[in-house]
Structures are given as C-alpha cells and as structure tokens.
C-alpha cells in the first residue's frame, strides 16, 4: 500500500513531501518514545506513527533512516519540523484520528506491525 493510500484510509492530509506519496508502506511502528524508535534496525519502507510532534521526532527519523511519518491526534506540525523533514526527503501525513483508531484501521487494512 502506498503512503497516499494510507493517508486516504485515515482521512489524513499530506503536509510535507507530496512528491513521495507513491512510497510503499510495508510495516508500521507506533510510538511516542523516540528511544524505542531508535532500537529498530531495519527501517526500510517503515511508517512511523506517532503523537509526538516536535523536532526530535523528525531528528529521530533522520537518524533511523525513516522517511514516512504519520502524525496522529491532530498535533501541530511546525515550520521547523517541515523544514527538517524536507531536507531529509521525508513525507509527513497528519490525521485527526487517535493512535488507537489509526492503528486499528491500518492493521485491519493489512499493514503488519514490525514486530
């Protein structure tokens, strides 16, 4: 499934990196704890679902080679975050849904957990 299809499923909005909307999402990891995100070895085609919307969530993705982020609970994405994400060729989708609801929809649609 592409990240654009993921966005449609959760009534999300692409707020950054529209040109990367055809990227394939193979797995999802949901966390607000960035140290947990940093433990993941293979992050290829991984979508990070998080309610932590600040510069450190983008920095963590930069260090972890994660290029797709889904921000839940309608958290604000600041200009600084957008700039850093653009510098790193990331795509960010934002949804008003809670993390539990978003996870349920994506899991139900067949995207597996990373573990």
């Amino acid at each position: 499934m592409t990240i654009e299809e993921v966005a449609a499923l959760v009534q999300g909005e692409i707020v950054c990196g529209d040109s990367f909307k055809n990227r394939e999402v193979a797995y999802v990891f949901a966390s607000d704890l960035m140290s947990d995100v940093l433990t993941i070895r293979d992050t290829s085609n991984l979508l990070l679902m998080t309610g932590l919307s600040n510069l450190q969530s983008i920095r963590t993705c930069e260090m972890s080679d994660i290029e797709m982020i889904l921000v839940v609970r309608d958290k604000a994405v600041t200009d600084e975050m957008l700039e850093l994400a653009e510098d790193n060729d990331m795509i960010i989708v934002k949804t008003k849904y809670s993390m539990y609801k978003t996870a349920g929809i994506l899991y139900g649609a067949g995207i597996p957990a990373i573990y």
């Binding site: 607000d32 960035m34 940093l38 932590l52 450190q56 260090m63």
Partner: protein, 137 residues
C-alpha cells in the same frame, strides 16, 4: 580527520544537529549505510543525553581510515551508578526530557548496542565522558 562540536545543555532545538552533520559526512565518505546508522543512533542518544542532563559539552569526532572514534565530554552532574544507568528503564530524566520522547532509560543501552567499543568515565558533580568506536569493516 578530527572535528569538535559544542553542545549546550537544555538546547532541545539544536539537539541532534551534530549527529546530523556527522551522518552527512559519513554518507559522503561512502561508509556503509548500516555502520552510518549504528554510529549516528549511538551519537544522537549521547548528544541528547548532554542536552537532557548536562550544562554543556563537547563532541570530538575522530575519523580514521578503518574506524570512527567519538568522545562526548560534558560538564554536568555525572552518573552516580553507571551499572544502574546501563539497565533498560532506569532514568533520572526530567518531565521536559520525557516530553521530547526520551528519558525512558534507553539511552545508554542503545549506545552500547550501536557501538563496537564503549567506555564511560564519570564523576559525580563534575561530568561524564563517553567514548565509543565503530569499525568500518
């Protein structure tokens, strides 16, 4: 090649900027992606530790043909019990640090897991020096 970067305690806006620079440098040098990732994950955790716990610190990056050696020396409270701090889940982080997505006691274990050699020296009331080495082959 030898580079030094300065980090200010509490400066969460710039936390990770050194790790970002080092990542760009290693990629440009053609270091394998797996080693780049291990190195910058360890460095980022250690850099965030300075921002989260110390007053200030310096990061020295020494790039050699076969390895990278990174030394992070901070002025800060030090770690009273390193063995305790090395265990997952143990942390003295402030609520502000936790709001940033850290402070769950994963930092030092993550650094250990992502480095080939790790050495920690600390003195309570003075500061902490973390040195780690990753080999390219």
């Amino acid at each position: 090649m030898d580079f030094t970067y300065h980090v200010e305690g509490g400066d969460f806006t710039n936390a990770g900027s050194t790790s970002s620079e080092v990542k760009r440098m290693l990629k440009k040098l053609g270091v394998s992606p797996d080693i780049v990732k291990r190195t910058v994950v360890a460095l980022y955790e250690a850099e965030v530790n300075i921002v989260a716990h110390a007053y200030r610190g310096d990061i020295n990056v020494d790039l050699e043909e076969d390895k990278i050696r990174i030394v992070l020396a901070d002025e800060g409270p030090g770690i009273p019990n390193v063995d305790w701090a090395m265990q997952k889940g143990n942390s003295t982080a402030s609520p502000k640090v936790r709001e940033m997505g850290f402070g769950a006691g994963m930092g030092l274990p993550n650094i250990k897991n992502n480095s080939d050699e790790l050495h920690i020296e600390t003195e309570v009331g003075k500061g902490t020096t973390i040195e780690f080495v990753n080999y390219f082959n």
